[in-house]
């Protein structure tokens, strides 16, 4: 029962580790950004799932309803999503520039070329 | 003018002089006049403080707080009076000498030389007048930095290497040991002011005091106590006026002066006596005296021999401090004055030999007394003073050091003093004796010694000197003044002695 009750946290952990692993293990710069995104998504899931109150509805004031889910984490996550989007955009823009400058977006090839620069 | 005003002006004048020297770079004669006038003004200011201090007063000026609770303070007490007096007087003399030497040797970058000289003297005055350990440390480091370009003046690869040794040893010791000692003292005691009887008595335990003593003594690298003495022979690569200044006046005296100040005003003579560790440093100083004298004997390069002689003589003063007896302190303080005059004479003569005869190795100087009699007589006078024979002033300082050793119950030290005097005879008198009594034909071929001699001036190799002239006139004047000083100090040591007495018996 414990496991199912905490399933959201397990998902968060799986996503976090997956994302982190991708960032570290893959050489392709775009894949790294993908991993970073997955890593950030795990945090979003963490916040959003923590906001859910048992028996609570969407946090919109309505007649006769007394239990709402917590709106604050949702707000926080909107902010974090925006930050994530900006980061991804910036990262991808950098990848495009790197491709123009180096001709490759594989990290190991970049390291080889870096020695000569 | 009040003593307080004189103190502030004495600190300001050398740095102003340096700025003026830089501004008058285009006209060498004006520039040199600026140096001489600055020196004269400084000496006047310093002397004006003398009556107050000789009367037992300790005029003091507080400038500003650098750290909360720690200010830059200047307090003139008898030991500082001696050091400042020597430094300011000998600056004038060295400037006269430098004019002859730098022009005779056709040296480059003379403006930089004179300007940095002024700054170095200013730093020495700052050290002499420092009222607490922080102020002293600030000017101690300024002195190291300002003398570095002087040591590496020639800009050759040898100069650069020597500069590294110089800076490396002096900065390492001051940062790694002295600074820690100072901060630790501040942290434990809450003050860094130089106080009669010391500030540590009763505040620190035996082991802590011993470690602190070690940190101070080894941290004062300018005192050239072994094993941190290598910077001194390395600094010989500098032009001779710099060596004369470093070895008689500014840097080395600043070092042993600091040792004496720490011994008398931070630890206190009685407290120092009660610490066992002071004995270990006493023996270390004694060992330095003997070992460096032996090394001096093996050196053929005159400046190198004089450098090791200086290492040895400096440890006399450290001896005086570590004996932790009143007479020892008096002897150490007097030796600051006596050794200054004696050693500067010797270095001036060494420089004269370089400029006039282009000779740096002692083995080439046979018979040089015949063509440079005045210089060689002066060398004799300086040697006698260092050896400690009458009628030279060096006798008095050795006398009191020996008395101090007896007072402290260290009979071995008396023996060390006597042995080292004999060694001094061996390695110093050789030069004037061979200079007067050996024939010039004895000189070995100059080519054999090229490689060992960084000072060897290759511009004059092709000349076979026949008519060796005496040194340039400014050099001779300077040599004459300092030799006379050695003699005068024998007949008239009272000023120095009385000042030192004030310290131990206020």
């Amino acid at each position: 029962m414990e496991f199912l009750g905490l399933i959201n946290y397990w998902i968060v952990i799986v996503l976090m580790m997956t994302g982190f692993y991708i960032v570290i293990a893959h050489d392709n710069l775009v894949k790294k950004i993908v991993g970073l995104n997955i890593f950030q998504v795990s945090v979003f899931v963490f916040y959003i799932t923590m906001a859910k109150v048992e028996g609570g509805t969407a946090p919109i004031l309505a007649e006769g309803i007394t239990t709402y889910s917590n709106p604050l984490p949702h707000v926080l996550i909107l902010t974090a999503i925006v930050v994530g989007v900006a980061t991804t955009a910036l990262g991808l823009a950098l990848v495009v520039r790197i491709r123009d400058a180096y001709g490759t977006i594989e990290d190991d090839e970049l390291e080889n070329q870096e020695g000569e620069s | 003018m009040s003593p307080e005003q004189a103190i502030q002006l004495s600190l300001l004048v050398p740095f102003l002089g340096a700025a003026l020297i830089v501004l008058t770079w285009a006209n060498p004669n004006v520039r040199e006049t600026v140096t001489l006038i600055t020196g004269a003004v400084l000496f006047y200011l310093v002397s004006s403080i003398y009556p107050t201090v000789a009367g037992g007063g300790q005029p003091s000026v507080t400038l500003f707080e650098m750290l909360p609770g720690l200010a830059i303070v200047f307090t003139v007490e008898p030991l500082g009076m001696i050091f400042a007096g020597i430094a300011s007087f000998l600056w004038i003399v060295t400037s006269i000498y430098s004019i002859g030497y730098m022009r005779g040797h056709d040296e480059q970058n003379q403006t930089r030389f004179y300007a940095l000289f002024a700054i170095a003297i200013g730093a020495a005055i700052g050290i002499a007048f420092a009222g607490n350990m922080l102020t002293l440390f600030v000017f101690y480091e300024v002195l190291t930095i300002s003398t570095f370009p002087l040591v590496t003046h020639h800009g050759t690869p040898e100069a650069k290497r020597a500069g590294r040794v110089y800076l490396g040893i002096l900065l390492s010791t001051s940062i790694a040991f002295q600074l820690v000692a100072i901060i630790w003292t501040w942290s434990m005691v809450g003050t860094l002011d130089f106080t009669q009887g010391g500030i540590l008595n009763g505040k620190v335990g035996g082991l802590t005091a011993a470690i602190l003593l070690g940190l101070y003594v080894f941290g004062i690298g300018k005192a050239a106590l072994m094993p941190f003495h290598r910077w001194l022979p390395a600094a010989m690569v500098a032009p001779t006026p710099v060596s004369a200044l470093l070895h008689a006046v500014a840097v080395v005296k600043a070092g042993v002066f600091t040792v004496l100040k720490v011994a008398v005003y931070i630890f206190g003579v009685d407290f120092l006596f009660s610490i066992e560790a002071s004995q270990w440093f006493l023996y270390l100083a004694a060992a330095t005296v003997l070992i460096s004298s032996l090394v001096a004997m093996s050196k053929d390069n005159l400046k190198a021999r004089l450098a090791y002689s200086t290492v040895s003589q400096l440890s006399y003063i450290v001896l005086g401090a570590m004996l932790a007896s009143d007479l020892g302190v008096i002897g150490g303080g007097m030796h600051i004055a006596m050794h200054a005059f004696g050693k500067i004479t010797l270095f001036f003569c060494a420089g004269a030999y370089i400029v006039a005869a282009h000779k740096t190795e002692i083995s080439h100087m046979h018979g040089i007394g015949r063509t440079m009699p005045l210089t060689t007589i002066a060398f004799m006078i300086g040697s006698l003073s260092i050896i400690g024979l009458p009628p030279m002033g060096g006798l008095w300082s050795k006398w009191y050091l020996a008395l101090g050793a007896l007072e402290a119950g260290q009979v071995v030290i008396v023996g060390v003093l006597m042995v080292s005097s004999l060694l001094n005879v061996a390695y110093l008198l050789e030069i004037p004796f061979k200079g007067f009594f050996a024939a010039p034909a004895d000189n070995p071929s100059p080519k054999a010694h090229h490689e060992h001699d960084p000072d060897h001036d290759h511009r004059f190799d092709h000349q076979q000197p026949r008519e060796i002239k005496e040194a340039p006139l400014p050099c001779l004047i300077a040599i004459g003044i300092t030799s006379a000083g050695c003699l005068i100090l024998f007949f008239y040591p009272e000023p120095v002695y009385n000042l030192m007495r004030l310290i131990v018996a206020p």
């Binding site: 974090a80 | 600030v138 940062i175």
Partner: protein, 496 residues
């Protein structure tokens, strides 16, 4: 009107820069953008000084954003610690921006120059926001604003290696920020509040809660990545080396410093009232890494031939000094760490500006290319020597003051290894500074060396102002030390 203005100063401190940034984009012309950036930075400096004055007079200032009271609204809370940081950041900006005009014009392609100023203003806004806020999530927002803009600034260099450096910094920085926000989320889960003061009152009751412990870990690691504490410093050397010189100068002097402040705020204000820090042994962990940073950073710097990278590794070491001071958790240790924040910013900013002048004329920052430079660029190299003395810790420099306090703090705690580490890294600093000095003053210029003159006045003057300030605060350190001590007492005293 003036009263209205003056009562909203805390908000204006951040908002002014945010508003000015799009102005730069709209105007597009390099000179106009520079002018706006300079004017805004100087205005922000004035605001920061006024705020500092107010805090010195009346104590902690609070400001509720949008008049929503804490803990529901976001609160700006200014005590001595952050007023100090606000002044520092704006001061550095005020000196670097006039310098940047010529430097950026030489190093960044013309069509992109206005973008630099826009990003600079965003970065400034972000840094000031981190310093001024009293809400942990708000800190994250500003953290990311400053980070993202710094990634862009670094990538603006003509050198293509800057792109890779910016990319790597982006990856590592985002991971760090994400760690931070995980920590914030966990704290929110347990306490229900994001306000720092509120958290501080709630945490002592939750000391046994495992979520809180894990949150502390995530927060610390995230921030340590941002402040480049060894071994999380990997992004720093390349980022500082390949960025345009004015960017290196500004970031080296502000970015990591603000992150150190943020760590201090979290550890001491938020978690300080509890025993968690001691339970965790966080002190010991930080000290260990600080010492490793000090010695490792200095040691690597000795072997670097790219002078900017040398200075970058020196920065890693100096950050170790700051963390060492912080981890002592004694008033004097904290004072040492905080005052070194200030002093190092001045010195390192000045030194990077020197390298900017060198690059301006030589287009290189390799030590070999700087042979004999002292004859051709005397004022610039003199500034390097002066700044180098500060890194070594010679008396009369600000570096001496920091070192004095650090050694005193370590001696009083009996941490002999730390004292030894401080001394060793100072001696290593002598070596790596002197390497550059020897090349510039003792070696003859390389064959075919360019006949270069001094850097332009618009670069020399700000550089010397920065170095001059580091000497001023080294000669009379009472002002900075009094403020730092007050800040340390505030941080260690917990929440009133």
């Amino acid at each position: 009107m003036a009263a209205l203005f003056s009562s909203h100063l805390p908000a204006l401190q951040v908002v002014l820069a945010l508003l000015a940034a799009p102005l730069c984009v709209m105007l597009r012309r390099p000179n106009a953008a520079w002018f706006i950036a300079t004017a805004v930075t100087w205005a922000l400096l004035a605001i920061a000084v006024v705020l500092l004055g107010r805090v010195l007079d009346i104590g902690t200032i609070t400001y509720a954003l949008g008049n929503w009271p804490a803990p529901w609204g976001i609160e700006y809370r200014i005590d001595l610690a952050n007023a100090f940081v606000l002044v520092l950041v704006t001061l550095i900006g005020s000196v670097v921006i006039p310098y940047a005009r010529a430097s950026i014009a030489a190093e960044v392609e013309e069509p992109r120059i206005y973008l630099f100023y826009c990003m600079y203003l965003l970065n400034l806004a972000g840094l000031l926001g981190i310093a001024i806020t009293g809400d942990v999530f708000n800190l994250f927002v500003f953290l990311e604003i400053s980070s993202l803009s710094s990634y862009v600034m670094i990538s603006l260099s003509r050198d293509r290696r800057a792109l890779v450096a910016a990319y790597r910094y982006l990856i590592m920085g985002t991971i760090g920020a994400t760690f931070y926000i995980i920590g914030v989320g966990m704290m929110y889960q347990v306490t229900g509040t994001l306000n720092m003061v509120n958290l501080a009152t709630l945490i002592p009751d939750l000391v046994d809660n495992r979520t809180v412990m894990v949150a502390l870990a995530f927060l610390s690691v995230g921030l340590c990545l941002k402040l480049a504490l060894f071994p999380l410093h990997m992004w720093l050397p390349n980022a500082y080396t390949y960025a345009p010189s004015a960017v290196s100068a500004f970031l080296a002097a502000t970015g990591t410093k603000v992150a150190v402040y943020a760590l201090a705020r979290i550890l001491f204000t938020v978690f300080g009232g509890s025993s968690l820090i001691d339970d965790f042994g966080l002190q010991e962990i930080l000290v260990t890494f600080a010492v490793l940073a000090m010695i490792g950073g200095s040691a690597v710097a000795v072997y670097e031939s790219n002078v900017k990278r040398l200075l970058a590794y020196s920065s890693v070491a100096q950050i170790g000094y700051m963390i060492l001071g912080l981890s002592m958790a004694s008033v004097i240790g904290m004072t040492a760490g905080l005052v070194h924040l200030f002093n190092h910013a001045l010195m390192k900013g000045g030194l990077f500006m020197v390298m900017g002048c060198v690059f301006f004329r030589l287009s290189s920052v390799q030590v070999e290319d700087m042979d004999g430079l002292a004859k051709r660029m005397p004022l610039t190299m003199a500034a390097f020597v002066a700044g180098g003395f500060g890194l070594i810790g010679m008396p009369l420099t600000a570096g001496f003051i920091s070192k004095w306090y650090l050694i005193q703090a370590a001696l009083e705690k009996g941490w002999w290894a730390a004292v030894a580490a401080i001394l060793i890294s100072s001696l290593l600093a002598v070596i790596y500074v002197w390497r550059v000095v020897e090349a510039a003053y003792f070696k003859p210029p390389p064959k075919g060396a360019a006949e270069v003159g001094e850097a332009p006045l618009s670069m020399l003057v700000p550089m010397w102002v920065m170095i001059g300030m580091s000497y001023y605060f080294g000669i009379d350190a009472t002002l900075t030390l009094d403020i730092a001590t007050g800040a340390a007492e505030t941080l260690l005293g917990g929440v009133q």
